[in-house]
């Protein structure tokens, strides 16, 4: 007890001791956290590094027991262009770009409408979409396929078919942007409308500039969905190479009879797919983070 009392006295030595103790414990804590983070990073990055390294390997096209290539080169990348890969890549890009534009427009209009307009079925509609959104999209696959087949939008024509499928239900993804719009004061809309703006002008000139993070978030998510999709793309393209997207096309190289010739090309293709997405995220990550967290609390 006496020791404790002595320690709790505010003498300069005690203060210094306490300070050193605090500093030491903080340093130890930080070091532990960093070690943990480094371990996680290594686990996270290893597959990516392996794929990048394999893509530069020239000596063998098959899976080997080592990571670092013995012969480096761009052979795999060059070989990619002798295959249908450019077509897949083009398909994917067209799909993703169209979807990101159309879906963004639909989602933002939907969110604005639900945030600002008051109409009779607004609440039931929102609840209906919430419930509908709980069902996995895969459930619709069979009927969607029938419909698209009747429309002639499968196999070689899979791209427009896919675009249609992706944007069809995009209105249901209104939650985050509606949440953000709700935080913007309504009087801004009113002031703009009195100033002479139409509803559309209010949206484009006032609301969207203020909701930039959410717009970018919406574009990014709309782009990412089709860019990495496999299930629908595979189903709708149905083994027709011309209608495949990158994911489906590359996957077709992993069949037992193909994989020994094309494994390294598969890796090179993977790297090429990752590049635009990586660039996009690096440029827009600031907005992305703001967008995801912004809807909840930003006033």
């Amino acid at each position: 007890m006496a020791d404790l009392k002595k320690l709790s006295e505010k003498t300069p030595e005690n203060e210094l001791k306490k300070h050193i103790g605090l500093k030491a414990s903080r340093t130890i804590g930080n070091t532990l956290i960093y070690i943990l983070l480094i371990i996680m990073t290594v686990i996270w990055l290893t597959p990516f590094v392996c794929i990048v390294l394999q893509s530069f390997r020239c000596e063998s096209t098959y899976i080997v027991g080592y990571v670092i290539p013995q012969q480096w080169g761009l052979d795999n990348y060059k070989a990619l262009f002798q295959t249908d890969f450019p077509i897949w890549y083009r398909n994917t890009l067209i799909t993703a770009l169209c979807v990101s534009v159309l879906q963004t427009v639909i989602v933002l209009c939907m969110s604005y409408t639900l945030s600002r307009f008051r109409f009779k079925l607004r609440k039931p509609l929102m609840k209906f979409m919430l419930v509908l959104g709980l069902f996995p999209g895969m459930l619709t696959m069979i009927i969607l396929y029938r419909v698209l087949k009747d429309l002639g939008l499968t196999q070689a024509n899979a791209v427009p078919g896919l675009i249609l499928v992706y944007i069809a239900s995009s209105g249901m993804g209104y939650y985050i942007s509606k949440g953000f719009f709700d935080t913007l004061p309504k009087s801004l809309d009113e002031a703009a409308r009195i100033d002479g703006a139409t509803r559309a002008q209010v949206l484009t000139k006032i609301i969207l500039p203020l909701a930039k993070p959410i717009v970018i978030y919406t574009i990014l998510t709309a782009f990412m969905g089709p860019f990495g999709d496999f299930v629908f793309a595979r189903y709708i393209s149905m083994n027709t190479s011309k209608g495949m997207n990158v994911a489906v096309g590359l996957w077709s190289w992993l069949t037992p009879d193909q994989v020994q010739y094309k494994y390294t090309m598969f890796c090179a293709g993977g790297v090429l797919v990752a590049i635009p997405v990586t660039i996009l995220f690096l440029c827009l990550q600031k907005y992305y983070v703001e967008g995801v967290t912004g809807g909840a609390v930003k006033g």
Binding site: P185, L188, A191, R193, A197, L210
Partner: protein
């Protein structure tokens, strides 16, 4: 510049709550009208119906003789200033003010002329290139007024524009709005819950309660001749003292019996009462704090009270007194009228005798709460 006419205007919300009942009002060209009332009285709703931001459930709104019920706000040629300023945060002050002109596709040099002119009048020229968040509350409100000014709109609507400002700034802006009004010379409709603003700004005041108009009149009218008890208590600060009293007619002369005192009412009001043929009856008597005077001592016409609180306001003293039967009254005495001795006697618990004259008495019917003389 335009007249505004509201005929039987009604607002019913979806949940069947009636916010505004049959609202009838003719607003003349270039008139400054103030809607005033406690919160929830429907004054803002009425303004928003004129602006077109709120659907009109019944009746018609005319601007310059044209029924605007189904017109969009942008087609009504009105300008509006909001309580929370509603400046566009992503635009500079210049762009904020120019926004409406740009939407009308006005040439840029004309826009420049108008914006700089408005900025000069409002003293915000130095801030034109700033964003709203870099401005103080008063400056923001000026920008909001500027935004409404450049439009040269037919009607100028203001929805509690000073409520977000601190007291000192509010007084200053109030004076500026009076000047602005002279300069713009257009029709103003101004909403406030502050009776001082209403009294100082309005040509006519519309006092509202629970969606009904209580009285429409000039500031002098509503102050001197309140139509009912609500208006009487709402206009004037501190609010009017009201209490139950007995009006007695004896040998053709009127007296008021209250708190054991007998106050003669045989002056101006007495003759008015006689004209109306009012007999002896129960009334609610109103007396404004500034009209009550301190009597020298016990007398037939003096009410005996105890001083509860003495609020020294500087130029005047507010005395909160309690009568023998426990009614609280407020008396407002100019400091200059009090002698040193009198001031020393204003301690809690001191016995004070108060009285007031016939001409400052207000008589209300206890049932209908209407003013017996002017209701």
């Amino acid at each position: 510049m335009a007249s505004v006419k509201l005929t039987n205007v009604k607002k019913v919300y979806d949940n069947k709550v009636v916010a505004v009942h049959d609202f009838n009002l003719d607003i003349a060209d270039k008139e400054f009208i103030v809607f005033v009332g406690p919160s929830g009285c429907g004054k803002s709703t009425t303004l928003r119906m004129i602006a077109g931001l709120e659907d009109i459930s019944g009746g018609t709104v005319e601007i310059d003789g044209v029924v605007v019920n189904d017109l969009q706000p942008r087609d009504r040629d009105i300008a509006m200033v909001f309580q929370n300023y509603a400046l566009y945060p992503h635009m500079t002050v210049y762009d904020n003010i120019a926004f409406s002109l740009r939407l009308r596709k006005m040439p840029e040099d004309e826009i420049y002329k108008r914006v700089t002119n408005a900025a000069e009048i409002l003293g915000i020229t130095d801030y034109l290139l700033r964003k709203p968040r870099a401005l103080s509350g008063g400056q923001r409100q000026r920008v909001a007024i500027g935004r409404a000014m450049v439009r040269n709109a037919k009607v100028f609507l203001m929805d509690e524009p000073l409520s977000n400002l601190d007291a000192k700034l509010r007084n200053q802006m109030r004076a500026e709005i009076i000047l602005l009004r002279k300069r713009l010379d257009t029709t103003f409709i101004y909403v406030t819950h502050d009776q001082t603003e209403a009294m100082t700004l309005g040509d006519r005041i519309v006092i509202m309660k629970d969606g009904y108009i209580m009285q429409v009149g000039t500031p002098t009218e509503v102050f001197e001749r309140p139509a009912n008890l609500f208006v009487a208590e709402f206009i004037g600060a501190p609010k009017m003292n009201t209490f139950k009293a007995e009006l007695v007619k004896e040998n053709g002369k009127y007296f008021v019996k209250a708190f054991g005192a007998k106050l003669p009412a045989d002056g101006e009001n007495g003759s008015l009462l006689a004209e109306k043929g009012v007999g002896s009856r129960e009334v609610i008597l109103g007396a404004r704090p500034e009209h009550i005077t301190l009597a020298d001592g016990p007398a037939e016409n003096a009410i005996e009270t105890n001083l509860i609180v003495n609020e020294m306001m500087g130029s005047e003293v507010h005395l909160h007194v309690r009568t023998k039967d426990g009614t609280d009254l407020i008396v407002r005495v100019p400091t200059i009228q009090l002698s040193k001795e009198q001031r020393a006697n204003l301690y809690s618990g001191a016995t004070l005798y108060i009285t007031f004259e016939d001409k400052v008495m207000y008589f209300f019917d206890p049932e209908s709460q209407k003013n017996i003389l002017f209701g």
